[in-house]
Every structure is written in C-alpha cells, then in structure tokens.
Amino acid sequence: MIAQLTLNERTSALGLLILVALTGALMAVIGGDDPFAAHGVIIILFCAVIAAFVISGFDAPEPRIDRQDSYYDDPTKVGIGLSMAWAVFGMFMGVWVAAQLAWPDLAFDGAWSSFGRIRPTHTTGVIFGFGGNALIATSFHVVQRTSRVRLAGQISPWFVLLGYNLFCLLAVTGYFMGVTQSKEYAEPEWYADLWLVVVWVTYFVVFLRTLARRREPHIYVANWYFMAFIVVVAILHIVNNLAVPISFTQSKSYTIWPGVQDAMVQWWYGHNAVAFFLTAGFLGMLYYYLPKRAERPIFSYRLSILSFWGITFFYMWAGSHHLHYTALPHWVQNLGMTFSVMLLVPSWASAGNALLTLNGAWDKVRDDATLRFMMAAVVFYGLSTFEGSFMAIRPVNSLSHYTDWTVGHVHAGALGWVALITFGSLYTLVPALWKRPQMYSPALVEAHFWLAIAGTLIYVFAMWNSGIIQGLMWRTYTEEGSLAYSFVDTLVAMYPYYIARTVGGALFLLGAIIGSYNIWMTAKRPFMPAATDDVPQALSPAHARVPAE
C-alpha cells in the first residue's frame, strides 16, 4: 500500500501525522485531569500506529508505472476492513445494551458500562463506524468506475478514511469516559466535531475533484446520492454542533441554541442524518451495485432522477415530526407531518425502481444470496419508509412516540435496509476488488443472509409488540379516570420482548461475524486467475489513449 506512494508523498504523510500527533500532545499537556487529556494520548497513539505502518514501507521502491492508468482501490480495501470491524464492535455493544434492559446486572456496577454510556457506543459504532466506513469505501469505488478516472489525490483519500476513523474512535472512547453533548447521534464534543469538519471538507473536495476529471459526459445518478450525502451531512453537522466550550482545556461545551430552537435544530439534524447518512448514501450503493450484480440496467433512469430530487427536497422539512405535542409551534409540527407523508412518493419510487430492475431476473435472486441481500434491503426500505410516514402522522405518533415501536422502526430501517444493502454491496465489491472469481464461501454468504433476515424479523416483531403494548398501557384509564397501569407494570409486560430482541440482535451479530470472516478469507486466499474479465487487457480502440494527455 505504501508502495503506491512516491517518496515525497510518504514524507508528507509522515509530516501530517506528526502535526496531528503534536496537536494530541498539546491536548494531553493542557488537559490536566480532564478526559480532554486522555483524548490527546489516544490521538498520539493513533498517529503512532499509522506512522509505524508508513515507516515500515518507507524504503519500498517507488511506483514506476503511471498511476493514472489504474484505479486507486487501497483506501477502499482498508475501508471495507474497518467497516466490518466496526460492525462487529457496534453490533456486539448493541446486543450487550439490549441484554442490559432484560438483565440490568449485566452493567457489572461499572460507570463506563452503564446503559447511558454504552448505548451511544452502539449507535455510533454501527451508524458512523460501520455505515460511515462502508459509505466512504463504496463512494470511492463507485465514483472512479462511473467517472472512469482515478481518484483525485494520493494522500487525501487516506486522510479522509483514517481521519474519519479517528473521529469515531474519539467519539466512542469519550462515551466510556462520560464525554457527551447529550444530543442524539451528535454526542461527540467540540474538538472531535471540529476535526470532523476538516475531514469532511477534504472528503467533499476529493469527491468533487474526481468528478471534475471524469471521462463520461454524464454524472451517474449514484454519485448524485453520494454527493447529497456529503454536502448535507456537512451542513447538518456544522449547524447542530455550534457550541461554546467552557474552556479550551476541557471537553465540556454548551450549545448556542436555546430552548425549543435547540430541540428543533437537533431533530432537523437527527432526521436528516437518517435521510442523508442512512438513506441517500446507501441509495447511491443501491443504484450502482444492484444493476451491476443483476447485470441489468436500472429500470428507469428518469425515475431515479425524479426520486433523487424528491428525497433531497422533502426530507429537509420532515424533522419536526419528532417533536409532536411539544412546545414547537403547531404549524411547524404540521409541516413536518405533511412532508413526511409526501416522502412516501420518492421513497417508493426508488424501491419500485429497484424491484422492477430485478423483474425478469428473479431466478438470479433465488440462486444468488448477494442479490437477495439487496432485494430484501429494498423490501425493508419500502416497508420502513411507509411505516415512517405513518408514524409521523400526529395521532399515530401519540401512540408510538417514546415507545419501543420507534426502536422497532429504526431497526427495520437500520438492520433491514442499511445493513442488508451494505452486505449485498460488499459481497459484490469484495471479489471484484481483490480480483477473485467469487467470495471465499458462497455457502457462508447464504448463512449470513438467513441469520440477518431471522435476526431482523425477530427484532422488529418483538419491538412492534412491545411498543404497541407499552403505548396502549400508558393511555389506559380506569373508570375513575386515573392511569390503569404503573410504569413498572409496563416494564414487566415488556420483559419477554426484551429477551427476544437480544436474541434477534445476537443472530444479526453472528451473521456479521461470519461475513467478516468470509471477506477476510476472500482477500487472503491465493489468487486464482479463473475470471478472464478481471485481468487487465490492451485498451480497446474506444478507450485509446489521447495523445494530448
């Protein structure tokens, strides 16, 4: 990997690492007893590990061939590995935190292992660790293939990938130490947030420069979705995390948003994190890897454009449905509710487009677990977007809000849609990237598929039952007009469902572990030149070199 870099680039990589490590050293010194100092030490260690890797390859011969003649896939390969590692960590924390709800003793009386601290390690681990790394890895792959040009920059893609993982590491280690802004999905404190801004702007520049160099007249729609993901997440992240630290030597900060504005900004962020982090980027994967795997073009390209703009412009307004029956003005609640219902149109347009692409290739869906992953993801996408629109309607929300129904809905989307489309895309991408005819074991892909489906269904049905029972118990009155059930009564009623949820999550985790093993073995297995398609051949006349280049 280091051999792909010139000597100058290796030197500047080391320079960059020293610069970041020095910042960490400064934090460690001025931070005193605050977790701020501990984070400084973590930054130094992170840089040291990468620097050791760069130094170990420092004397390797420089690349002699023109690098513009090949795609830059090293960051994607490492990104896939990191993504799967975060998946196993994040899902394990999820199973643990779910088990704590059924058996509270599993916190072992530690402060770091209490529910409130390990729950965000689960959400950050799976959303940002697993999902984010998969998005960075696949977006780098897709933008090169659809633009037919090498990624712009040699070090900047590494900076994006590794810098992003440093952010995730600071976030998760911070939670264990009690560092949090207490904003859902935006827990990391001010210094980690500032770091992410730098990383994210670099990501934007790398993506834009690659597109600017493209050899295709039209930018393929998958890139539009990745672009929307990058741009909107930058805006959301900056606006929601505007905060004033209590001191530049401490981790604690306070948001600049007061009262109900804070709630609105937070859920504008929170819902658009679902929209642009967990939907737009993964639709980008869908629009590239599904046609690739099915070997059929997308059913309607025009429909994909219409649904792109629909999703982009409707989602922005939907966040206020998280704040029904609050101090938020009624008309803002109505706005969020209306846009959430309208969102069903572009969401089902994407889902329908994907299913109609598969229409005529159902035999492939039956035989190929990878394609089945993507088909099931689309079905869950359609179901959970319908459910989401439904739950955003105020009277429905009065039953579902604050109950496990919301948790069930989120996991129908996160497990059923986001994780399944990611696994389908990775099983398509991994053999192509490592130039293997197929995955190490198709049987393990099949096993992973059924574990994932079983886990998702058990989880979602448990939470539907639990949530609706809970919601109904909360609103049941006696003839005298007092509440019929105490809060503890509802907990007792939910107990079996909490156990079922833990089992469902454990099955899903098992599938992810099997998937990681399969991907690892595919990458490590000795090369077998079976597929002639993957061997570089002489340029065809259409792709002939332009003399002026």
Partner: protein, 56 residues
C-alpha cells in the same frame, strides 16, 4: 419592518411554497427534456461495461 414569528410563517407559507413548486417544474423539465433521453439511456447501460482500468 420587524421580523417576528408571523413574518417567518408568512414567508414559509408563500415563497416557500412557490419555491418548491418552481423546483418541481424545473426537475420535471430536465428529466423529460427530449435531448436528454440518449444521455440517460447511455448512462444507465454504461455502468455495466467492463471497468478494470480508468479511461484516458
């Protein structure tokens, strides 16, 4: 002029609406513009071609 809650509501309910309708019209025109037909057709089939090295 004092910018208060009602001003923002008025803006959202008038110009906010026009902007979305206008945007909808622009997107539809772009999507169904006849000369874009071939471009979109190429785009959807071209990703299925072999892609093991960049085009120069």
């Amino acid at each position: 002029m004092i910018v208060d809650h009602d001003t923002v509501v008025h803006f959202a309910k008038s110009w906010g609406l026009f902007y979305l309708i206008g945007f909808f019209a622009v997107v539809c025109v772009y999507t169904f513009w006849p000369s874009n037909r071939q471009r979109f057709r190429d785009a959807k089939s071209k990703i299925l071609e072999r892609d093991d090295k960049p085009c120069r």
